[in-house]
């Protein structure tokens, strides 16, 4: 007998501050007005998605010493927008990316515990570790963190917030009006933490929230990032949405769980995935090609080439050939505030390879950037896309996907209307929410049960 069908988890990533988002399309709306966020969240909830996801960057990106102006710029405060979205949705999980370098545990724990109360148990935290001094210039504490300490701080940060969440057990508030006892215990919320990064003590002032702790996501990709996820996260937001890469990542990360005493179903793998739908597969392919051209204008192509060349290439014609000059391999990078820049570990080799590719295919700079950039993860008719997603999940390339539409805010609508019903027909996606909290949607146990399980074993 074959193994039972896995249920798919689906989430919606609000279109981000990068060139995946096509702002030049006539259908593109505001990326900052609340009505856009409400539209997006309501579509996700109508489609019974597990959660909505927000990314975060704490300094406007720069290239060549100037604010990068070709992509969508600007976003709201993560906690504040999620709290407002809790008012216009009932079941949808609310996942916020919050940095562990430019925040303090007491404050972040208050904010997530408050969000969890105000949403009746739907809060989740994507813990990210950007540490750069460039971003640090916006903060009191500055860019004090050496790169190799980012995960040691992140780990201790998360452990400390967990101590704060657990400092209330859930039975402290009696509020007995007749006897006049409000708190069962004067020491409710007491905590002491002494570590390398934090030396704090006192009493936490938010009582235990419905989920106990927010659901924890992790998005780092390095070996350390993967270990961090295996030891402490409930889910990973990964970048591997193809079958082969997805399976490799899935196997790698799930194999790390055992040494932390965790089962394979206690860490979900949810890659980011773009999509383009058409009435037919051929139509979708044409559309996808067009979208990629919208995503990479001539000006954008030059800027992306600069990531590799690490030089000002503004004098080059995007419709002309690649530069003859070699990349600058010094450390001081032309682009600031982006995670993906560090992906090109050997710029000289990449440049050589790209020149050869361009010559062989007669590609201009813009053609090359489009062709070497990511294709959309899912392209096709609704039935093709539904089938592909299900095949990937059943083949353990992931446990589901965090979908990233390219149009704000309506880009998710066709997926909700056309793909989700097909997945529901196949019996691999919910038709009703299983319970009220995000933990229920994700099939995760409440932290109290985990603690009880460990105590019993």
């Amino acid at each position: 007998m074959s193994k039972p069908l896995k249920q798919i988890h689906l989430a919606a990533h609000f279109p981000g501050v990068n060139n995946t988002t096509v702002w030049s399309d006539p259908a593109a709306g505001s990326h900052i007005e609340f009505s856009s966020f409400a539209h997006f969240a309501k579509t996700a909830e109508r489609a019974k998605f597990d959660f909505l996801f927000l990314a975060e960057g704490l300094r406007l990106r720069e290239q060549g010493g100037k604010i990068y102006d070709l992509d969508v710029v600007g976003r709201p405060d993560t906690f504040t927008i999620l709290a407002a979205l809790a008012a216009v949705t009932e079941h949808l999980g609310l996942t916020g990316t919050i940095n562990s370098t430019f925040n303090e545990p007491y404050e972040v724990a208050r904010q997530f515990a408050s969000l969890d109360h105000l949403s009746d148990g739907r809060a989740a935290w994507n813990v990210v570790t950007s540490w750069d001094a460039f971003t640090g210039e916006n903060f009191r504490r500055g860019g004090f963190l050496p790169q190799d300490e980012r995960y040691s701080r992140a780990k201790e940060f998360l452990a400390t917030t967990n101590e704060l969440f657990d400092s209330w057990h859930g039975d402290e508030i009696l509020a007995d009006q007749s006897t006049g006892t409000f708190l069962r215990d004067a020491k409710a919320g007491a905590f002491v933490h002494q570590g390398q990064h934090f030396d704090i003590h006192g009493q936490f002032n938010v009582p235990r929230s419905p989920q106990g702790r927010p659901v924890i996501f992790q998005a780092g990709d390095s070996d350390e990032g993967r270990e961090f996820a295996a030891s402490s996260a409930d889910a990973i937001f990964s970048r591997y949405s193809t079958l082969d890469q997805g399976q490799a990542f899935y196997t790698d990360v799930k194999s790390r769980l055992a040494k932390y005493g965790r089962r394979s179903d206690q860490l979900l793998i949810l890659p980011a995935a773009t999509f383009v739908l058409g009435d037919t597969d051929a139509e979708a392919e044409d559309l996808a090609k067009e979208v990629r051209r919208q995503q990479v204008s001539g000006a954008t192509a030059i800027k992306h080439l600069e990531f590799v060349w690490n030089r000002d290439l503004s004098s080059y014609d995007p419709d002309g050939p690649l530069p003859d000059i070699d990349p600058d391999v010094s450390d001081n990078h032309i682009s600031k505030g982006r995670a993906q820049v560090r992906m090109y570990r050997d710029p000289l080799a990449t440049a050589r390879e790209w020149r050869e590719l361009a010559a062989a295919n007669k590609w201009s700079i813009r053609d090359l950037v489009i062709e070497t950039g990511n294709r959309q993860a899912f392209i096709g008719s609704p039935s093709t896309v539904a089938k592909t997603i299900n095949d990937f999940v059943q083949a353990d390339a992931s446990d589901g996907f965090i979908l990233v539409p390219h149009i704000t805010p309506s880009g998710l609508d066709p997926f909700a209307d056309k793909v989700v019903p097909l997945l529901q027909e196949q019996g691999v996606f919910r038709t009703e929410y299983e319970g009220p909290t995000l933990r229920d949607h994700l099939g995760l146990t409440h932290p109290d049960e985990v603690r009880d399980e460990r105590a019993a074993s």
Binding site: D71, E104, S114, F139, F182, G202
Partner: protein, 408 residues
Amino acid sequence: MSSTSPSPLHLAVALDGTGWHPASWREPVARPRDLFTASYWADQVAEAERGLLDFVTFEDGLGLQSSHYGELDGRTDQVRGRLDAVLIAARIAPLTSHIGLVPTVVSTHTEPFHISKAIATLDYVSTGRAGVRVQLSARPHEADHFGRRTFEPISLESLRSEAGQERLAEHFDEAADYIEVVRRLWDSWEDDAEIRDVATGRFVDRDKLHYIDFEGRHFSVKGPSITPRPPQGQPVVSSLAHQTIPYRLVARATDIGYVTPHDTEEARAIVAEIRAEQEAAGRADEPLHIFGDLVVFLDDDEATAVARRERLDGLAGEPYTSDARIFAGTPAQLADLLQELQSTGLTGFRLRPAVAGHDLPAITQGLVPELQRRDAFRRAYEADTLRGLLGLARPANRYAAAAAAATA
């Protein structure tokens, strides 16, 4: 607003748990078990909005509540624990449409960059109804929650000494820097920075995004904000003040100061002092509201209100004292008092309901109609933004003005 009223009176309500009296939670109307739910706060703000109030404030703090100023009291007979005020306000914003939402933020341990974008975002989700009440914390036990600074023990008495005043001045200077950074960040995007120019491929005009380059004793902040300029341009900034040093902050940096006069003479003196500081700060031309804070017990007759206060004091085991004057009486008596105080130059009042479940509806259903009969309060919301309700124009962007001056 009726033309017979010389100047409209502004009314706000300060929300704090089940109300300001420490035994308020024991009243049958109090709902103490609901304090950590959204619906509790939604109901409170809906009631305030039915009463056409200008705004509500939400108290907050980075430690457990305490009956002592400078330390925890270990008590279990009063409400302890609270949710983040900015997030409560954001949660309520989509459920309301006119009332202003003014959460408290603690400037001492938080990041001005985070708070600036949080209040800007509150302004977006409320389409122009956000404000902020800035409070500092000199409490050693709250500093211990962050572990970055150590503060000496503090009490209200020690604050009155010379050393105490110096220390207070330092904290308030930091708060002034904090507000300056928050405000600069709100202006760091010009209103028309987003251009979506398909021809050139540019989403923003980066000449309309500004570094704020703030450098101060406690922090430096580069900017620009990651959040575009909020709908009101500058959300409303407010702060509570009891003496000269905080009056100076009110006068220099805020749009509303909450003050606590106990009679008209004191009110007149406070108003004079703040107006003088305002002039000294070069802000004489700018509108600055001065609101009187009052704790209120409201009933249909005075004896009932007084008896209720006494009964609650009995439950609490001691008479309730407050920095603000405590009023117990009828809506008509309160209206008389407010109008009398208004004559000293106060422009509005922030009422602290002793028992939220009782005194908030008494304000909206008793006091408000009484003031309306006297043509002293609005009969319908006349504006969609908090600045609009307070008669504050949408301010020009400091950086746009500077850029225009440079090219002129």
